[in-house]
Every structure is written in C-alpha cells, then in structure tokens.
Amino acid sequence: MGSITLQKVSKVFGEAKVIPSIDLEINDGEFVVFVGPSGCGKSTLLRLIAGLEDVSGGQILIDGKDVTQAAPAERGLAMVFQSYALYPHMSVRNNIAFPLKMAKMEKSAIDKKVTDAARVLNLTDYLERRPSQLSGGQRQRVAIGRAIVREPSAFLFDEPLSNLDAALRGTMRLEISDLHHQLKTTMVYVTHDQVEAMTMADKIVVLNRGNIEQVGSPLELYKSPRNLFVAGFIGSPHMNFVDGAYAQSKNAKTAGIRPEHLNLSKDSGIWRGTVKVAEHLGADTFLHLDVEGIGQITARCDGEFGAYHGDTVYMTPDEAKLHRFDDKGLALKA
C-alpha cells in the first residue's frame, strides 16, 4: 500500500512562497514523476512528502493517514538522494543494513534481507567494499538497496541519475523501471530531464514556479498540453510557437507545431526558410531554420532528407497536429 494525497500543501521560506498551494493524488503502485525547470519547487515538494521540510500549510496523507506532523522515519517512505548519501565509513553491507539495524531487527533477518537485496541489484560481489571503492552506478544501486530493504510504502527519488554519465543514465533508467515492475511499489521521482520523465512515468506532474501546470500520462501531455508552458516543456526538440497572421488565420493568439509535425520539401510549401544549422543524428536530422515573416523554426526530418547550412527548404505544418493557444496561453479545443 502506498497512496499519497496532498491537500492544499504550501511552503514558504522566509519571504519566498516556493509552493503556493498544491493538491495532488498519487495512487498506490504508480510511478509519478515531478518535472519542471530548476527552482520550480519539485525537490521541495518531494522533501515535504519525505518530512525533511515542515509544510507551511495544508495536509499530507499517506494511505489515508494524516502524516503532516510525523517524523520522516515514521512515514514509511524511503528516499534515494542525488548525492546517494551513502555512509562513507561503512561497508556496502552495513550501508544497506543500517535502516534495519535502526529498526532493531534481528541479525539473521537483516542478513537475509541484505543478501536478497544485493542479489536483485547485482551487488553480491561488492558487499564488503566501501562506497569510495565503487563506481557511480554501483553507488546508485547501493542507495536503492538501502531503500528497498525497508520495504517502504513508497520510494522517493531526488534526481538520482543526474550525477551519472549519459550511457549509465540510460541503463539505470531501465533498471529503475524494471524494479518498479518487480516491486509494484509507489515511486515518486523528481527530475529536470524530460526524457527520464517521458520514459519512466505512469503519470507526469509538470511544475512551474511552485504550481502544477498539468498532470497526466506522458502521451497525454505530449498530445494535448494544457498551456504554452507544458507545450514548450514536453517534447524534444521544443515545440515551435508562431504568432501573428498565421495564428490568426487559425483563430488563435499563438499556434504551436512540433518539429516532427512539419512536412518538409525542397520545392514547395507554405513556409520558405533557410537552414542555419543542421544537426545530423543519423536516423533523424534537426534543422534550425530562419523562416521569412515567422522567425526561428526547428524542424525534424528523416536522416536521408539531405539539407545543409544555407539550403532553402519549404515546409507545411500538419494541420491535424496543430496546437492552438488563446491570449492567456491556454490551449483551445480543436
């Protein structure tokens, strides 16, 4: 069991209102990702759930029980920190065993749990080592091991992959997703990386300046962003926003079109642009174009398309995939 409910939760640091008021429902077994730009309050929100910060107002319920005033250890949650926060003078075994030792569990039971966790996480050969003798990915796994032995009702991850290199990040992403399928425990995951958010989440919570902009599944957010912020934040490369005459012709203040929804051609189309930079990724090519009367546009085309710096390219937006926004930045229904 591990459902978490936030009711009108707010957090104030001195003068700064970091989180004005948030209502959120996290269901049992869900993988929820908090995503947003730096300073949007996503880590603060996680720390409020963990109990490492006191809330300034509102209530936090875990499995229907009010834990707003409960100490971190009493909430039955486990947290994986950005720096891993392993205890440097303890062996991997003692690191993983520490929460069980603090819970005054019997030694034989602790040994069994540590051995099991080490097997799941491929750490069996490293149990007697110190954290300083491990690689970044192994340290990450020890931190996860320390979390899973407690059998918490929910896991909290605070940007756990940001200290790893790109290749390892990809592997760990898969491992964490795999772990979630095995354990079926609620996971709350904070990241600023939208790739992590899109690939791992059941439910994404997009935060901006302490407010929830939108909550939904990755594809919902991609297909129907509720406002300009979500539209611009989710998707890589970012959505193109077009103001002016073209948008007005579609009865909108701003028209949004994703780079992958532009049909490119070398001889005809409604917009004509010059390639400034072409990023060839192999399968795909990202073209950064200067378009007459519109400005900067990013387009995504097939790797075979063959456009280079200085070439002229025509493009036509896919009308069915067009997003329209009103003057408040909110999405208009089709």
Binding site: L52, A85, P99
Partner: protein, 290 residues
C-alpha cells in the same frame, strides 16, 4: 614534478632549507647529549669532567622522577580527555544556527589568544583563589567552605587551566570537520530511522575520527612540555605534587644549576616523548590514512 630534470631541480632548491632545519635540530640535541655525560655545574664551572652515566643515575634516583613522569602523563591524558569530549560537545552546539553566531564563536575561541602565564595568573588570582576567587564566592554562596585549589588539588587545577586554554583549539578543528559533514547523509540517516544518538554514533563520530586524531596528536606535542602554568601557579608543589618532567628539568637546571643532570633529564624527556608518540601513532594514526 614529472621529469627527471624537474625532480633534481626541486631537490636542489629544497636542500638549503632542509639543511638549515637539520642543523637547527641536530646541534641542540647533540649538545644536550654531550652535556648529559658531563659533570657540569654552574656553581663550579671550572671543574667540568666526563662522568659517564652518573647524571642519568642521579636523575633516575631523584625521588621526584617517577612522580613527574606520572604527572606528565596525567596532564596530557586529562587535558586530552576534557578538550576532545568538551570540544565535540561545544562544536555540536556551535553548529546550530543561533542568534549572534559570529560573536559567540569569537568568544569561544578567545582563550586560545591569551598567553599561558597570563591565563594561569588570571585563574590563580581571580578564579581559584581561596579568599577572593570566583569559585570561593560560589562556595560561600552555597554556604560551603571555599576550596584552596592549588593546595588541595594542585594537579587537577593545572589540568583545568591547561584544558581551558586548549579547548578552543579542539573546538575549532572539530567544528570545521562537523560543518563538512554532508547534509544529505544526515537526512538519509533521519529517513532510515536513526535518532539523534544513533546519528551521532554512526555518522558524526566516524566522520570526526580524523580530526580528533589531529587534535590528539598536535595537543600531545604541546602538552608534554607544559611549564608556564605550573611555574606561575603551584611552582611544582606542594612537594612534587604538580611537577611534570619539563618542570623537573627546569628545577635541576636553573634552581640546582646542574647543567649535566638537566641535560640527562632532557634526553629522558625526548625518549619518553618518542615512546608516547609511538603508542599514539599505533592507537590513532590509522585514522589519518583514510
């Protein structure tokens, strides 16, 4: 320092200072060693002769010798105990965010800037004096007989004064170590259900181990030679109750004018310091390797 050339150059450049340091150390040591085998008394400076190990025998059979060694160890051990435990406690308190933190820290550190004879005089005349000291006032306030500290507990009084002087040093080093403890580790321990005591035992103390070692090693070097505090307060007495090895050497040399005997005592002190250093490095030195 990658190539052979730079290595040789570096050695050449360092050589003068190394040589100077070596001479600075070797000459006094050699002279002390030389005098320790001489019958050399300043009351009769014309009559200097070789006496072999007589000076050592003389110093060894001095009734104050073993007591002074014991007193030396008590001062070192007592002060270390008070400063390390007290230093950790004060550092933990200073690590909390409080109003006027900067001023409080300066106040805590200030005893270290008071020179030893001055500190000893302040303690002797204003704090521990049996008729007008602060402690006597406190005793009288509770209707008790004032304690004559230097007569009744001479060694303990010396330990207290020296500890008062070294507490800021220990506090300062331990505080900086405490501040370098990773905040996320503390939070992780909190999430793991460790209460304050457990966090202290499993997280703070291991983290402080290296700094505690540094405090112990540096303080031991200075505490083996405590002298000014004894001279100003008890003058080694009553009897030999507060005489340590350094003070015994001073007595032999400058009150007994016996240069030979004092030199023998100095050599014994050097040997003793090395024995202490050996056991100390065995006991706590491994903390420095991590």
């Amino acid at each position: 320092m990658a190539t052979q050339n730079t290595k040789t150059l570096a050695r050449l450049m360092m050589a003068p200072s190394v040589l100077l340091l070596l001479i600075w150390m070797i000459v006094p040591l050699a002279m002390t060693l030389w005098f320790s085998f001489q019958n050399y008394n300043l009351l009769d400076p014309s009559n200097v002769s070789f006496t072999g190990l007589f000076n050592y025998q003389f110093f060894y059979t001095d009734p104050a010798f073993f007591q002074s060694i014991w007193n030396t160890l008590v001062i070192v051990g007592g002060v270390l105990l008070i400063t390390v435990i007290g230093g950790i406690a004060i550092a933990l308190l200073l690590d909390q965010p409080i109003f006027g933190q900067g001023i409080v820290r300066i106040l805590i550190i200030s005893p270290f800037f008071v020179m030893p004879p001055v500190a000893a005089l302040v303690w002797k005349n204003m704090i521990m004096n049996p008729s007008y000291g602060v402690f006597a006032d406190i005793s009288r306030f509770f209707g008790l007989r004032p304690v004559d500290w230097f007569a009744q507990y001479p060694l303990f009084s010396i330990v207290v004064i020296v500890a008062w002087q070294w507490l800021p040093f220990a506090t300062l080093i331990l505080l900086t170590a405490l501040q370098s403890l990773d905040g996320e580790q503390k939070e992780a321990a909190e999430m793991d259900g460790a209460n304050f005591l457990n966090r202290f035992i499993y997280l703070v103390v291991p983290h402080l181990a290296r700094s505690i070692t540094v405090v112990i090693l540096i303080q031991t070097i200075f505490l083996l030679g405590v002298y000014a505090e004894i001279l100003v307060t008890t003058n080694g007495g009553p009897g030999y109750a507060s005489t340590n090895l350094a003070f015994l050497i001073y007595r032999t040399a400058l009150l007994g004018y016996d240069v030979g005997g004092a030199s023998a005592g100095g050599i014994i002190a050097v040997v003793l310091a090395n024995i202490v250093a050996f056991f100390l490095m065995r006991a706590v030195g491994k903390n420095l390797d991590r």
